[in-house]
């Protein structure tokens, strides 16, 4: 198996789906000649032409809405927001159209659109360009929200997203684009809404996804050197959320830490902790900890930014409080 970057995995998934299904097309800001702000669609404009790789004006509401409309009219658009920060401009189109038409119109309509959105902090881009607002989107029934933490999952999940009959927000953490991992040559998919144990252990359960997964895996390796074996569960999809592997693991370790890059308040961790106490109350042996971004707009200068973000040391410290 080839070891490729997560960027390459996403690019390959897009190319292969466009080759497989002529209804798949790409639209967004700078996706054409420029090849995408994060170079995911580099070469696509030459390969597929302007008809299937469409630059748009700087109009996020149209990217969100017209992609939904084209999907309702039988195509399979993959709309790229330059960053997830700008997807917030299209919230009405994503949440009130794409995510609701199937329900509001009694199942007559579907909107099989994929919104790709790079995001996350850690690149010194300042507060407004560094959001991890995943939880905002994951709040709404009708929308599917996935965010991969490995190249293998990125390729398989994006293929599932494009083939899904539901609208999918596909969140790519920009610091993971260079992450390498094994990806098979042959066609495969990773199912949406299925969590997975990424590292086995018996002492504590760490639940995370996306960039938080890599932080958690690094923390787990260091903890192992100190004799603490952490089991790391990767959620992969935030909605629908599969609690199965996390619950199974927790019932074995009786201790858990939830790791996310978004802000702590009202976050993914809040949801996971609630679900653990609802569904596995008798197994709680210690407070369930949350490791998340500080409650400030993300600062610019490197030291300040790193202080506010999650890192392996913070995960290790949280684990040590409860084992």
């Amino acid at each position: 198996m080839a070891r490729i970057t997560l960027r390459q995995a996403i690019s390959d998934a897009l190319r292969e789906e466009m080759q497989r299904d002529e209804n798949v097309f790409i639209m967004g800001e700078e996706v054409g000649v420029w090849g995408g702000t994060y170079a995911v669609t580099r070469g696509f404009h030459d390969e597929f032409g302007d008809k299937r790789v469409r630059d748009t004006p700087i109009s996020e509401m149209v990217i969100g809405g017209a992609a939904a409309g084209a999907a309702m009219n039988g195509l399979r658009p993959v709309a790229e927001f330059m960053t997830i920060n700008f997807a917030m401009l299209a919230l009405d189109q994503i949440v009130n159209h794409a995510a609701k038409v199937h329900y509001m119109f009694g199942g007559q309509m579907k909107a099989p659109v994929v919104y790709r959105a790079p995001g996350g902090g850690g690149r010194q881009l300042g507060a407004t360009h560094s959001h991890t607002p995943d939880v905002i989107f994951a709040h709404f029934p009708g929308l599917t929200v996935v965010s991969p933490g490995t190249p293998y999952d990125a390729k398989g999940l994006l293929k599932s997203a494009i083939r899904s009959d539901d609208p999918v927000l596909f969140i790519e953490h920009a610091t993971l684009y260079q992450l390498r991992g094994e990806v098979p040559e042959e066609d495969y998919t990773v199912p949406i809404g299925v969590s997975e144990v990424k590292r086995e252990g018996s002492d504590v359960t760490i639940i995370s996804y996306a960039q938080g997964l890599q932080v958690s895996l690094e923390a787990a390796e260091q903890l192992a050197k100190e004799g603490v074996e952490a089991e790391v569960v990767d959620l992969r999809s935030l909605r629908p959320l599969d609690m199965g592997p996390a619950l199974e693991s927790f019932k074995k370790t009786f201790r858990a830490v939830v790791v996310e890059e978004g802000h702590r308040g009202y976050g993914i961790g809040a949801e996971i902790v609630a679900r653990l106490q609802e569904e596995a109350f008798d197994y709680i042996d210690a407070p369930i900890k949350r490791v998340a971004q500080d409650e400030t707009p993300l600062p610019y200068s490197q030291e300040l930014e790193q202080m506010a973000l999650i890192n392996p040391d913070k995960v290790i410290a949280a684990v040590k409080e409860i084992v």
């Binding site: 097309f25 008809k51 299937r52 469409r54 748009t56 004006p57 109009s59 996020e60 509401m61 149209v62 969100g64 809405g65 017209a66 992609a67 939904a68 409309g69 084209a70 999907a71 309702m72 009219n73 039988g74 195509l75 658009p77 009405d92 189109q93 009130n96 159209h97 609701k100 038409v101 199937h102 329900y103 509001m104 119109f105 009694g106 199942g107 007559q108 309509m109 579907k110 099989p112 029934p141 009708g142 599917t144 899904s164 009959d165 539901d166 809404g193 629908p240 609690m243 679900r275 609802e278 569904e279």
Partner: protein, 329 residues
């Protein structure tokens, strides 16, 4: 452009009459406590939705808004379906999952049903047109928005994108002078909203929105332009909202003199007089039409009131096309 036959003239008239009578009945049901208040009257604006929708071909797409009941009637949505929708019944278009005129019927070309936010459906209608263009189909999309909605970023982004990509779409701005209680003088600084079309580099045409034939002809020309690959047209249909924003709004902020002046331009009476001059309508035929509409509505209300609601457990179905369960374990 297709010329209208005398029979079509009469159909336009009948559909405008049906629209008004249905809304009057729905309003009466509201005051009798037989339906909820999601009723937005298009009284005075009937010529716009009826006239413009007549200009579409059967496989074109239309995205109506809340005052465009005429669009649904012209597209063949039945009066029974409409009252089932008002009453939230299981056999309505939306199975009771959404109210108002949020009616969809893809097979009859009502492709983008409105959601409450205006003009949130405008960029979506643009996407419908984009798909037509990508598939090289000679089909056209038509959508509506109001003078109030013209102030939103969604209308600007949608029209600009359609203009840039020369998409096969027609935008009709129904300028009914009021966005709830906000007059157009507080909505835009232009004298005529249609002047905005020049800013998008597309044709802009202002039409008397109370003249159903003018609306039909203007729309038909714009549809032909779109179908011919010449891109979108911005039509400003000037009219007047003769009732409040919704059934719960007495609209005391509207000057009576304004209502009186526009009452003289009532689109139904006006077109009826025209038909009489052309010897296409007389008292006996008009009474016959009234009777038929009344019977159609009585039947529809009885049918709707006898229709079941969706069982409560169906509240959790339809959230995902893939059938994903959304309740917690």
């Amino acid at each position: 452009m297709d010329r209208l036959t005398p029979q079509k003239y009469l159909s336009l008239y009948i559909d405008m009459r049906r629209m008004r009578a249905i809304e009057e009945k729905a309003t009466a049901l509201y005051y009798e406590g037989r339906t909820i208040g999601r009723i937005y009257s298009g009284r005075g604006q009937e010529a716009i939705s009826v006239g413009s929708t007549y200009a579409l071909a059967a496989d074109d797409a239309v995205a109506p808004m809340n005052r465009d009941l005429g669009t649904h009637l012209v597209r063949g949505i039945t009066v029974r379906e409409i009252f089932c929708q008002y009453l939230g019944r299981a056999n309505s278009s939306n199975r009771g999952k959404d109210a108002g005129l949020h009616i969809s019927s893809p097979e009859r070309g009502v492709m983008v049903n409105m959601i409450s936010n205006l003009p949130a459906s405008l960029p979506v209608a643009v996407g419908i047109a984009l798909a037509f263009k990508i598939r090289r189909e000679l089909r056209v999309a038509l959508t509506y928005f109001g003078d109030g909605a013209s102030s939103t970023g969604a209308s600007h982004e949608g029209i600009n994108f359609a203009a840039v990509r020369r998409l096969p779409i027609v935008f009709i701005c129904e300028n009914n002078q009021w966005a709830l209680s906000t007059a157009t003088s507080k909505q835009f600084a232009l004298e005529h909203l249609v002047e905005r079309a020049a800013g998008y580099g597309i044709p802009g045409i202002q039409v008397d929105g109370n003249d159903v034939l003018a609306v039909y002809e203007t729309t038909a020309e714009a549809v032909a332009r779109a179908r011919g690959g010449e891109g979108p047209t911005f039509i400003e249909a000037v009219t007047m909202r003769m009732k409040g924003h919704s059934v719960t709004d007495p609209a005391q902020y509207v000057p009576q003199s304004m209502l009186d002046a526009w009452e003289q331009k009532d689109p139904i009476r006006r077109f009826g007089n025209h038909l009489r001059q052309e010897n296409l309508l007389d008292d006996s035929l008009d009474e016959n039409i009234t009777g038929k509409i009344s019977a159609e509505i009585d039947d529809a209300v009885a049918y709707a009131e006898a229709s079941p609601f969706l069982p409560a457990e169906e509240a959790v179905t339809d959230v995902y096309a893939e059938g994903i369960a959304t309740t917690y374990a």
